[in-house]
Each structure stands twice: as structure tokens, then as C-alpha cells.
């Protein structure tokens, strides 16, 4: 089943069908020149290729200078990529599915939009990056992230400088999309490390198009295009993501994989529009009141 095409996708497809087509056809990791400006990057994680070897996680730990943990049990401040494994019953027998999990780098990241200090930001290249120097570890980003991705490291960071003021607890850490490599025109460490070529990297448009093409070819599913209103990480799977999420729930795994995960920010869209026209409404109301006073006389208002 193909996912319905979103409005955004439709626009982007019609705008750059050619570029997307060529990149998708090759299916290879394409690197992007960050210098070229607003060109955003994306990833496809192909669950039909991933065999759960954990090399991506190790590469990520090395790249970020973390102590090497060959068998991480989840996302931690020192492990930004966690490979989950679930068994799923399908008509053709039980299937093992391995799911590398990390930040999805949402299009409208709630974690960044709601950071009370605006030090968690969506970069023009696409990755969502927390400024570790100023994060106070309030864990709000984790609370509003549909997947609870950012992880708290206690006892470090800016808040130590503010002591004894009771502001903060530590620093939130998560995948930064290897923004330094991306800016240098290279692919993220996890992409390069995967022996199966299960993680593809390229422009966001190309990756989105490729994910849908690949899903169509295997009669599979895409996760990450609709979720949270759109992300730049697209999982492709032969088994439905609802089944994967159910299996994760049974195993008590985090993060879960809810289909059509919601974005907190989209819950206030309607009010945001009302808010942006409120000044005009206020001006008109005052004008109207003054007009009434003028025509009916001062006493009418008493």
C-alpha cells in the first residue's frame, strides 16, 4: 500500500521531479553541497536490507567520541542510534525486523519550536541540532518529541555555571545528523558504516521519492513522511509499521513507532492564525466602537 501523497510532497514533486528522479534511480548515497544553501538532506532506512549488525551504532559512538558500547540497550546520552529487533508474524512465517532508531529530523520539529531558550534549532541543511553549550537539560524537548528521542545527561553543562540557582539539570543529547560532515559535503557516519547499504543519504526530496518508489516496488510501507507532519527520515518496510509498533510495545521497547504520530505544534495551528490577525481585529473593534459613539452620541456608551 502506498501512503497518500501529502500536499507538501506534491508541491516538491512537481517542483523537482527531474532531480528526484535521477537520484532515486541510482539509489546510491548522494552527497549534497551544504554551501548551495537551503538544500535539505534526508535519509532512507531500508528495513528490508538491515540485518541488525549494529555497525551504524558503533560508528556513531566513535564519531561522537563516546565510550564504545557494543550492545546498547536503548538511546542514551552516549548512544544516539539504537538498533531495535522484533519478531513479526506474517502470512509467510515469522520475520525478524531490525530498526535503527535515532532522531527523525522533523520538518517542523516540536523539540526545537518549543525549546524555551531557542537553542535547539532546525538548521537550513535539515538536521535538528541542540546547542550543548547552553542546554539546561529541562527535558521539554523529550516530552514534546513524538518519539522521546533526546536523552538527559545529568550533572554537566551550562547549568553548573548558574549554580546555586536551581535552573537546569544537565544537557540533552541526541543525533545531530552529523551536521559537521553534512556541511563538509559528506555523508553521516552511520550511512558510511552500514555494510548492507541499508541507510541511504541524499537530498530530502530525492530520499522521499526513493522511499516511496522502493515501498511501491516491494508492496511495502513508508514511515516518517506523514508522521509528526513530515520528517526527513524515511523508513521502508515490507511489514506494516502498525505491526512493528505493536511488537515494540509487547517487548517494552523505546522508542515506539506509532503510525501518524502527532506533532504538538500542529495542535495550535488554528489559534496561531487567529493570533496573527488579532492586532487587525483589535484595531477594527476600536474603530467600530468609536464610530458607534460618534453616531449615537457620548451617552450611548455609558
Amino acid at each position: 500500500m502506498a501512503q497518500p501523497i501529502s500536499r507538501r510532497e506534491f508541491l516538491k514533486r512537481s517542483a523537482s521531479a527531474v532531480a528526484a528522479g535521477t537520484a532515486a534511480a541510482s539509489g546510491l548515497a548522494t552527497t549534497v553541497q551544504a554551501a548551495s544553501g537551503a538544500k535539505r538532506v534526508g535519509m532512507v532506512i531500508d528495513l528490508t536490507l538491515c540485518d541488525g549488525c549494529n555497525e551504524c551504532s558503533l560508528a556513531c559512538q566513535r564519531k561522537n567520541g563516546h565510550p564504545i558500547n557494543p550492545n546498547p540497550q536503548g538511546l542514551t546520552p552516549e548512544n544516539y542510534l539504537y538498533v531495535q529487533s522484533v519478531s513479526i508474524d506474517t502470512p509467510s512465517g515469522t520475520q525478524e525486523v531490525h530498526i535503527p532508531r535515532k532522531c527523525m529530523h522533523c520538518d517542523d520539529p516540536a523539540c526545537a519550536g518549543l525549546c524555551p531558550f531557542s537553542i535547539n534549532t532546525k538548521t537550513p541543511e535539515g538536521p535538528v541540532v541542540i546547542n550543548e553549550d547552553y542546554c539546561l537539560g529541562g527535558q521539554k524537548c523529550k516530552a514534546v518529541c513524538p518519539w522521546g528521542i533526546p536523552q538527559l545527561k545529568k550533572g554537566v553543562g551550562f547549568y553548573k555555571k548558574l549554580e546555586p540557582l536551581p535552573f537546569g539539570a544537565g544537557v540533552m543529547y541526541k543525533c545531530d545528523g552529523c551536521i559537521d560532515l553534512v556541511r563538509a559535503g559528506e555523508a553521516p557516519a552511520c550511512v558510511t558504516a552500514c555494510p548492507q547499504g541499508a541507510i541511504k543519504f541524499g537530498s530530502q526530496e530525492a530520499m522521499r521519492a526513493y522511499a516511496h518508489e522502493r515501498a511501491a516496488a516491494i508492496s511495502g510501507y513508508v514511515y516518517g513522511d506523514q508522521e509528526a507532519g513530515g520528517t526527513s527520515t524515511y523508513y521502508v518496510s515490507a511489514v506494516p509499521f502498525a505491526a512493528i509498533d505493536a511488537a515494540l510495545a509487547v517487548q517494552g521497547e523505546q522508542p515506539r513507532m506509532p503510525v501518524n504520530a502527532e506533532n504538538v505544534l500542529h495542535g495550535v495551528n488554528g489559534m496561531a492564525q487567529a493570533l496573527l490577525i488579532a492586532p487587525v481585529a483589535g484595531i477594527f473593534a476600536a474603530g467600530f466602537a468609536a464610530h458607534k459613539k460618534l453616531t449615537k452620541g457620548d451617552e450611548a456608551n455609558e
Partner: protein
């Protein structure tokens, strides 16, 4: 302006219905904005507020975010209504004047028994200062808040440095506003100021209070009444 002396009642009409509505919609929305704003800082969980009976919801970010947006609509409407009214009526009574700082100190000293209180116009010097202080902080909060709202719209990205500054200003203005509101409320601990409270409920204050404390305003109202044809027989 609808201000006038009501000799028979022994009162002075001080605030119009629209001023009363503006004050209370600003006050109510500001209280909600302060509460929900602090809720947007990850504070209520940390300091155990969510464990207080009936306040478990205070740690619910999506909820406090909705409250913040809703109250922001009310505040923005009221503030722009008020600003337009000023422009249309040219009523600048609440705007600070030169020498207000010195006059405010004199009034404060007089309240504790030092020296004589200078005669005031419709508003005391500290009211004009408090208006300017609270008003400018609210204005900064609205402007920076608007940018924060705009950047949260789907598909919109605003320059990160601009957002960073808006957020820091939003937070700083919040602290200053809280101090301003506390000062504003503390003003009503002083007995003489309490005579102003009815102005924002019934719209009227005692004539004797006005004659004594706001003598400049009183003279202004008298002059206005005698020069205006239809008000002459009121007195």
C-alpha cells in the same frame, strides 16, 4: 471622554466601560500568560507544582501551550484595541510626563508621612510610570511572541539568530512584567490607593477623594463642565 463630576451622587465618573473591559481582559490574559508561560519552561514538574492537588495538568505542555496561545489572542486584541482608542480619542492621560519620576518619589514619601503630596492630574505620576513599564513589557512580549508563533507554523523557518533574540527578550520581558504586576498589586496595600479600586468595577470614584488627591483633574473637569453647554445643569 465620558469623565465628569456627578455632584448628586458624590462621585466622579472615571473609567468608561471600554476601559474597564480593556483592563480586565489584559489582567486576566496576563495572569494566564504568566502561568502558562512558566508552564512552558520545564518548571512545574521540577519544582513539584504538578504534585499539588488539582494542578497535575500544569505539567502538560500541549495544554499549557494551548492556554498560552488562547490568552495571547485575548491580550493582543485588547492591547491593539486600546492603542487604537488612544489614537482616535487622543487621550494621553496615562502617558508619562517630564518630572514624573521625581513626583512619584514625592507621592511615595508623602504616603509614609514625609512632606506634602503634590496635586495630581487624573493619574498619579507612579500610575503613569507603571503604565509605561507594564505596557512596554507587554508590547515586547506581544511582538516577540508573534515571531515565536510565526516560526512554529508548519513549513516556516525563521532565521535562528532572530528567534534566539526574540526568545531571550520574551523571557526577560516576562521577568520584568512579573515585577511590574507585583508592584502594581502592592500599590493597593497602601490605603489611599484603594480609593481607586471602584474605578475599575463601577467606573466611579468618590468625589471627596478626587478633590483631595487629584485636584488638577478635578479643576479640569469643572472647567470642562462649565464650558460645555449641556453639562451646565448637571451641577
Amino acid at each position: 471622554m465620558s469623565d465628569r463630576i456627578l455632584w448628586k451622587e458624590g462621585k466622579v465618573k472615571r473609567q468608561s466601560l471600554s476601559s474597564i473591559l480593556v483592563h480586565w481582559s489584559v489582567a486576566l490574559s496576563t495572569f494566564v500568560l504568566i502561568f502558562s508561560g512558566f508552564g512552558q519552561l520545564p518548571m512545574y514538574k521540577r519544582f513539584g507544582i504538578v504534585n499539588l492537588p488539582g494542578l497535575a495538568w500544569a505539567g502538560d505542555y500541549p495544554l499549557t501551550l494551548k492556554m498560552h496561545y488562547l490568552a495571547a489572542i485575548v491580550l493582543t486584541l485588547a492591547v491593539f484595541y486600546h492603542l487604537t482608542e488612544i489614537v482616535l480619542t487622543k487621550d494621553f492621560d496615562l502617558f508619562p510626563k517630564k518630572g514624573d519620576l521625581r513626583e512619584a518619589v514625592k507621592i511615595l514619601l508623602a504616603m509614609v508621612g514625609i512632606g506634602k503630596e503634590p496635586p495630581s492630574d487624573k493619574y498619579l505620576a507612579e500610575q503613569r510610570l507603571s503604565y509605561a513599564f507594564i505596557g512596554s513589557n507587554l508590547f515586547i512580549l506581544i511582538l516577540t511572541g508573534m515571531l515565536k508563533v510565526y516560526k512554529n507554523l508548519p513549513g516556516i523557518t525563521v532565521n535562528n539568530a532572530l528567534v534566539l533574540w526574540a526568545t531571550q527578550l520574551h523571557n526577560l520581558a516576562t521577568v520584568l512584567l512579573v515585577l511590574g504586576v507585583l508592584g502594581h498589586l502592592a500599590a493597593f496595600i497602601a490605603k489611599p490607593n484603594r480609593k481607586l479600586l471602584p474605578a475599575l468595577f463601577t467606573g466611579k470614584v468618590d468625589l471627596a477623594y478626587v478633590q483631595k488627591r487629584h485636584s488638577l483633574w478635578f479643576k479640569r473637569l469643572e472647567r470642562q463642565a462649565s464650558s460645555s453647554q449641556d453639562s451646565r445643569h448637571i451641577g
